[in-house]
Symmetry: C2
Subunit: 753 residues, 2 copies
Amino acid sequence: MANLQDISLSAAINLLSAFAFLIAFAILRLQPFNDRVYFPKWYLKGIRSSPTRSGAFVSRFVNLDCKTYLKFLNWMPAALRMPELELIDHAGLDSVVYIRIYLLGLKMFVPLCTLALAILVPINWTGKLLERQHAKDLTFNDIDKLSISNVAEGSQRFWAHMAVAYIFSFWTMYVLYIEYKTVAAMRLRFLASENRRPDQFTVLVRNVPPDADESISEHVEHFFCVNHPDHYLTHQVVYNANKLANLVAKRKSLQNWFTYYNNKYERTSNKPTTKTGLCGLCGTTVDAVDYYAAEIQKIEQEEVAEREKVLSDSKSIIPAAFVSFKSRWGAAICAQTQQSSNPTLWLTEWAPEPRDVYWDNLAIPYVELSIRRLLMASALFFLTFFFMIPIAFVQSLANIEGIEKVFPFLKKILETPSIKSLIQGFLPGIALKIFLIILPTILMIMSKIEGFTSASSLDRRSAGKYHLFLVVNVFLGSIITGTAFQQLQTFINAPPTEIPKTIGVSIPMKATFFITYIMVDGWAGIAAEIIRLVPLIMFHLKNTFLVKTEEDRNQAMDPGSLDFPTYEPRLQLYFLLGLVYSVVTPILLPFIVIFFAFAYMVFRHQVINVYDQKYESGAAFWPDVHRRLIISLIISQLLLLGLLSTKRAAKSTLVLIPLPILTIWFHKYCKGRFESAFVKFPLQDAMVKDTLERATEPNLNLKAYLQDAYIHPIFKGTDFERPQITDEEEESPLVPTKRKSKYNSEMSSTEGV
Amino acid sequence: MANLQDISLSAAINLLSAFAFLIAFAILRLQPFNDRVYFPKWYLKGIRSSPTRSGAFVSRFVNLDCKTYLKFLNWMPAALRMPELELIDHAGLDSVVYIRIYLLGLKMFVPLCTLALAILVPINWTGKLLERQHAKDLTFNDIDKLSISNVAEGSQRFWAHMAVAYIFSFWTMYVLYIEYKTVAAMRLRFLASENRRPDQFTVLVRNVPPDADESISEHVEHFFCVNHPDHYLTHQVVYNANKLANLVAKRKSLQNWFTYYNNKYERTSNKPTTKTGLCGLCGTTVDAVDYYAAEIQKIEQEEVAEREKVLSDSKSIIPAAFVSFKSRWGAAICAQTQQSSNPTLWLTEWAPEPRDVYWDNLAIPYVELSIRRLLMASALFFLTFFFMIPIAFVQSLANIEGIEKVFPFLKKILETPSIKSLIQGFLPGIALKIFLIILPTILMIMSKIEGFTSASSLDRRSAGKYHLFLVVNVFLGSIITGTAFQQLQTFINAPPTEIPKTIGVSIPMKATFFITYIMVDGWAGIAAEIIRLVPLIMFHLKNTFLVKTEEDRNQAMDPGSLDFPTYEPRLQLYFLLGLVYSVVTPILLPFIVIFFAFAYMVFRHQVINVYDQKYESGAAFWPDVHRRLIISLIISQLLLLGLLSTKRAAKSTLVLIPLPILTIWFHKYCKGRFESAFVKFPLQDAMVKDTLERATEPNLNLKAYLQDAYIHPIFKGTDFERPQITDEEEESPLVPTKRKSKYNSEMSSTEGV
């Protein structure tokens, strides 16, 4: 086990490596040819234009102004400078509320850290249990001296720990309450101040029952004309365009290859060739440019045929529709009420924003949905507790003998002793690494199978699954040795009161491990985040091989977006660690605080300069974040209970039992108090907005505005799109131009470009 | 332990005692002077009139027609004869669905019983484990030979039990599904076919926020005029008339005493006296008639003053209101949507029927409500697991020495050996008995504290609490010896997989106990139910001392009503026993079947002839009943799993694990599919009824109809009631008169009166 000096050394190394990342970032971002990797958000907004267009040739690619390098940490204050309201305009509420989670971490842990260091550390330090035991030659380290392990069993000092546990829990709940209130208010203000958007007037209707005499479109129209006579305006049917979407995606990929070979041809004047088989690796050799041109033509014909078929065949209309109303009030009541006496037909819910719709899942009937959820719940259970079994199987296959059998020509290389040992050391881990990398994708596929209808809800569901996986396999898995499956077996065969004890006792021993984890995964991870290595490489590859025009360069730019289903559960792990160790080993808290402070700055910078949100859900994820924080709090309380009850303080730990009960009650209270702000839309607010709009724009042609808002993205930009469609972004720019340009110049000046 | 012969004897005795009850009932109900005890429902409907009015003096009181005594079981077919639709008209949907629970028991257990007796009993019987063990001198009985205990450990015969467990679970789920579907359809049909009722147009609004400038009434009116402009019709504020209600109740009680003494005076011509102190036991002696006349006058003055104060003082208006809409559609959307951005203000829900409103709870703010629920949840926990502690304390006090100390004059009597031993045997049990009798009342008070706003929801909540108590203390308490608190301790310290094993193993041993329980509590209890001993005595007491006019006699009549919060949880216990023993000791099933068949007949008779429902909730309790049945099913599956895993069949019992998972999924499926029929009101149905009404009654003055529908019952019949109020019962008789009278004559003829 490490002692304080080891930890300090490790902290120094990690701080240095994080610092190295930061310097690399500072240098890379100042180079003009990286501008589109580090400031794509501004390009997308049309505010920033290519610096490569003007100036000396070299300075188009490399920044030669030495002064700017001196201020290489300038991005940090710049990231903090934009006020929150402007940030909402600039990046959307989702991003702003997401970075508030880091701020919440600071609000929670800075006071906890101060208090714990001031009260608990002295109490633990003067406990001197370990020093006395030292004579008996037990291993212990300096970290342990600062932790609860240093207090003798049955000591009266534990009262201090229990009092502090109460204070911490109440403070956490207080901060959570204030935050929930703030976010709910922000969401309502955001929804109220928003410009007109199609989803405000639109309801997604699913499970339209079949009718013998009418088409789906007629049936929907008649139903809503009858049951919402004064409010129904229009509706849009949903086409099953999944096949067409596949064709379009294929065409785009072919077009990329065509451009690549064409560029190559133009540069070298040698006719490039390719092979017709798999990935151009096997098959007959042909002229690449001609081959791809022919392929593209072929697929374009298929596409046209499929497009006609989808639009003309009544079978390609799925039993779902987007129904629009004359007012927000009308849409609000339709979304919140039950339409038919069979509650599985005519299901209505708020339509997601057009960008947010997940088109593939709109047509799943109720029974199938119910079965899918059951299957996915069992799959998640097995994935969480038994994922080691297939990985162990793959590991047993992936040995050197196996590889030699499949690829005999590699035998010679593999038999070289140095390579052999390298591979033998590397192979066992690789299956697990690959699994962990693709895990979020697997979870997303599972969520898609569950049948959610919007990208935002898919993200929220995947985050929930990932959180479960991380808590079981990273948190518990690190504390208790053995696979999750073995843990499960232990827990099933142990009394429920034993579980917190077993885990609780191991908690203090793992403090150094988790401190290292926070530095490696947390600090260095965040520093790596800001460099954007993968997008950086991808952009330059594309830029070199595919880009001809400025428009191509815009296409090659990949701003990415906040990967909520991966980031948020990982973040929750730090909250869990902080809460669990706040009473047990308070010395861990400063590391958590540094993580949150650093991550807050980095993500604020990324949200301002890089990420482009895929959709805007209005912080609909907050109830999930809140629930998971409450779960962490309860876990921490139970583990403390378990730990203390092994310290011969069993009777007095009964004092802690009300804590989890109060926490659950607090959760229920918050749920009742705030959650509906994230689920429903109050009629009062709808009426206010309707009235205002009627007064300011009495001649608005709403029907034309909504006509084609919810067409499948595959039809956008084709003949399906009628001229009267208005893009809300164009019609109402998010930031007034004047303010925007001012802000832009401010940004540029601070960045010294 | 009892063997088969003992059980047969006990069954015979219980059958005979039940039979004796039935004969007593048959004789008592034929006596004209008991007519109002056994047929009050018909009196309330105004169809039956006093038989004491005409005929010879003796035959007014005693039935002298011998022939009618011969057909003393005639009420049974008569009870079954009324078709269900007519019964809904006659007694309401609540009662009809309630007696369908007994029918559901038959549908579930008759096939289970047949199958179990045909398959499992032979398999168990030929298991011969116990006979072989007989040599080792173990105690066993005939019942055990028919149970799973007779099958040797590790035997292949257990596959039969597991297969049957699957069949039973699937059959139960199938029956439950069909029943839920039927009840949901019945409810929707009932709501749709109903006559106009005030609650169809009315929404209960709670937590009206205070406003500095407006009164509550104005605030409500403005809010709904703005936010439901086309639909708002009128509203009624709620007065805090709890004190007034107390005064009225007190006056009525005094009036009863006044009548009693007045009657006594008229009969004996001696001036009766009373004492002014507690219950007329102490204080100065006064002339009773004058005293009560004076008291009544005093309280009447108080009442008038209080009534004026309530109606004039703005502080006696509580922040809640009944808001009525122009159409059912308008009320449906208001009840199902959120009004304000603060979800704890302007809470809307369907108004209960006027009879169903629980007025005391309308003014509780959200925070207080939330705290009350927390407190009551903990109280319920302690009541369930620790109720033995105060009872043991009372028992320790209530010994002979204690009584002698408090009442020294009883010393001589108590020292008599025979009386002493009687009291010593009797005392310890009496505290528990009294507790069990008042338990439903305690639970109802707890539900009232929780703040529900309708009598029906209070009943449902109390039933849930009582069910928990019965499962823990009667079912588990009988299987495992020791108090619930000791059980709790055992379970906390045992691994979760051990709990079903511990209980499961004891299950077969307790079969004889539960068979006796079914006969004593079930069969005899039902037979006692039909005699109505308490109302019989009360009616005759009142009839003798208080009744002067025919109207008084109607007042003295106490039809009672189905005591849902007591009856339904007890009933659930029989379902639980049947499901748990269906695989383990199938010989218990015939007893359950007989119970359900007998109870079905008795309650059908009571619903037709006796009970007068206090409110009509439209079978809103069915989701609760369904959920509790699912809980019983899961308990039975888990216990079977536990039992089999101790039989050295641990590996093969894994086959049973999917059963509880499937059951939980089934529950979720049913919830999604049917529950909303009990919570929401579909817009389509509302629209159909509105359209129909507009066509048939275009000139309806809805405002006048709704004006005073929701006034506190205390104001009914006073000057507050305006002439335009229409009573829905009078306006639209539930059964057309012609059919009713026909039915009435049919009933009379079959009963031979």
